[in-house]
């Protein structure tokens, strides 16, 4: 693929926003599963590790600052790995969520709070991405009123 124009988006912050949107939408899926399975016996809540994602994103930003080509390539794979491994994070690993007598540890209230928080992050990232795209468009056309 030609790298002449792709570099415009792979530089750093826009790419970071894109990956963050990917991450929050994957996390959304996990949280929806938790809500849907709130009454499934033996179901353990699933979540994606935000700390791990933030660590990888931080590394990608550092690589991007050094202008290494495809700084976010690794993160892309990492993100897929994170998504594929939306592994069970029981109350033991996150230290919360009471285990009920039916072996289910979903707390609907907490899942709904996380769902709202995650959706808020998603909206913020997509609004910022939109802003970035519009600014690029203004720079390309040279019209300040663009976007």
């Amino acid at each position: 693929m030609s790298q002449i124009f792709a570099g415009m988006f792979e530089g750093g912050t826009l790419a970071g926003l894109e990956r963050s949107i990917d991450f929050t939408s994957e996390r959304h899926r996990s949280l929806l599963s938790n809500v849907a399975n709130a009454d499934t016996p033996g179901y353990r809540r699933r979540d994606i590790d935000a700390v791990e994602f933030h660590r990888e994103l931080s590394r990608a930003y550092e690589r991007g600052a050094r202008r290494v080509d495809g700084a976010f390539g690794g993160l892309d794979k990492g993100n897929q790995r994170l998504a594929a491994g939306a592994r069970p994070f029981g109350f033991a690993s996150l230290g919360r969520g009471p285990l009920r007598h039916d072996g289910n540890d979903v707390s609907v209230e907490r899942e709904m709070a996380l769902l709202a928080q995650n959706a808020g992050e998603y909206s913020a990232y997509s609004a910022l991405l939109r802003k970035g795209f519009r600014q690029l468009r203004a720079a390309i056309t040279g019209r300040p009123e663009e976007g």
Partner: protein
């Protein structure tokens, strides 16, 4: 993103099945006769499990099973269906417990509706990037 609506839809469906089962249990809380014999209604319960294939993470109802707990026996020798010892078997349905279950099913159903709304608002905020 839109496919994740299926997950919430599966939650809605499962809890609707549960609601139907509860309604059936309450409606038949005093059903004691079948084919002229004292054969009471058995309480039913749906079995939920995580969907293995199809949409991973969704919930599915693998079946509706009957509650094996013993029937409630009442001593009523004058009852036409009473057995030799004058006992009549009633369904193993406890209406209070059904009401509690109904509240739980209702709460979970609404949680899935709200989750669906959240998904829709996320989807439209993603679409606004194009505007």
């Amino acid at each position: 993103m839109l496919r994740t609506l299926d997950i919430s839809a599966s939650g809605l469906e499962a809890h609707r099945v549960w609601m139907n089962t509860i309604a059936e249990n309450i409606a038949n809380a005093n059903t004691i006769e079948r084919d002229g014999k004292n054969s009471p209604y058995r309480r039913k319960e749906p079995v939920f499990s995580v969907a293995r294939n199809g949409n991973p993470g969704a919930v599915q109802v693998t079946g509706v099973v009957e509650d094996p707990s013993p029937f409630r026996m009442e001593h009523d020798p004058n009852h036409p269906l009473a057995d030799a010892e004058g006992r009549v078997a009633y369904p193993n349905v406890q209406v209070i417990q059904e009401m509690v279950d109904m509240m739980m099913a209702n709460r979970s159903y609404e949680a899935n509706v709200t989750a669906m709304d959240v998904t829709k608002s996320m989807f439209s905020s993603a679409l606004r990037i194009l505007a």
